[in-house]
Amino acid sequence: MSELTELHKTVVTTPSDTEIRTERIFDATPEVIFEFWTDPDLLAQWVGPERLEMTVQEYDVRPGGKYRYVHKDPETGSEYVFFGEFLEIEAPRKLSQTFNFVMEPQPPPSIDRLELIPLENGRTRLVTLTTFESKEYRDGMIQSGMEKGMDEGYAKLDRLLAER
C-alpha cells in the first residue's frame, strides 16, 4: 500500500468507511518530527492556520495526559477549541491520542494514530490514521471546518507562491 517515495506530496486515502489515512515523506528523522508533535512551543508553529492565534492551554504528553489548544481569529474573535487525551506514546515512533473539536452537539472523539517510519538518508515516512465512530461522524467532522478552512488555505497558498 505504501508506494509514496517523493517529498512534498501528501497521500490521503480512506482504508474504510470510518477511517482516513495520510502519508507523507519528510526530510527529517523521526526524532525531529516527534519533537515537533510533542513540544507545545514547536506545535504552535505549525498546527492551525497562520492567521489564527494558536494558544496551547494544556499539553501533557503521557498516557492519560490531557491536551487542549485554541485557535483564535484576531479579526472576528471567534475561537476554535480542540482537546483530547494522549493514549499511547512510543517515542519517537508512535503516538496515539483522542481528538475533539468543540461544537454543538459535541460529536464523539476520533482517535488519531501517528506512526513515524525511518527511511534511508535520515528521512521519515509519516503515517496518520484517524478512526471515527461512524461514517457520518467522519464526513461531518470534515465538513465542519470546511468553509472556513478553504478561504484561509487559498490565502496561505497565495502568500507561499509570492515568497518564491
Binding site: T22, F26, Q45, W46, D139, M146
Partner: protein, 93 residues
C-alpha cells in the same frame, strides 16, 4: 461495498443484488434504503421490479469533502515541513 461494485456495471433489481450476496430480499431492501438515503443509489419501480442504480450526486459530495480534507491535511503537513526546515537553518547558522 459489493452492492456498489455490482451497480458500477449497470442497474440491477433487488433480487439480482440479493442472490449473489446470499441475502434475503428484505435484507437487501434495507441495505438499499440506507444507500438511497446517503444518495449513493437511486431506485425506480418498473412494473413489479424495483431497479437500483448508482447516483452521481452522493458520489460527488463524497469526493468533494475528501478533496477538501486532502487539501487541508496537505497544508498542515506543509506547515510542519516548513517549521522543521526553519529550525534546521537556524541551527546551521
Amino acid at each position: 461495498m459489493a452492492i456498489l461494485d455490482r451497480l458500477g456495471d449497470g442497474a440491477a433489481s433487488i433480487s439480482e443484488l440479493a442472490e449473489p450476496a446470499g441475502m434475503s430480499l428484505t435484507g437487501m431492501k434495507k441495505h438499499i434504503a440506507i444507500l438511497e438515503e446517503a444518495k449513493l443509489v437511486t431506485t425506480e419501480k418498473r412494473g413489479r421490479t424495483r431497479w437500483c442504480e448508482l447516483s452521481a450526486e452522493g458520489f460527488d459530495e463524497a469526493a468533494f469533502w475528501l478533496d477538501e480534507f486532502r487539501r487541508r491535511q496537505h497544508q498542515k503537513l506543509n506547515r510542519l515541513e516548513r517549521a522543521i526546515e526553519k529550525r534546521k537553518q537556524e541551527r546551521q547558522k
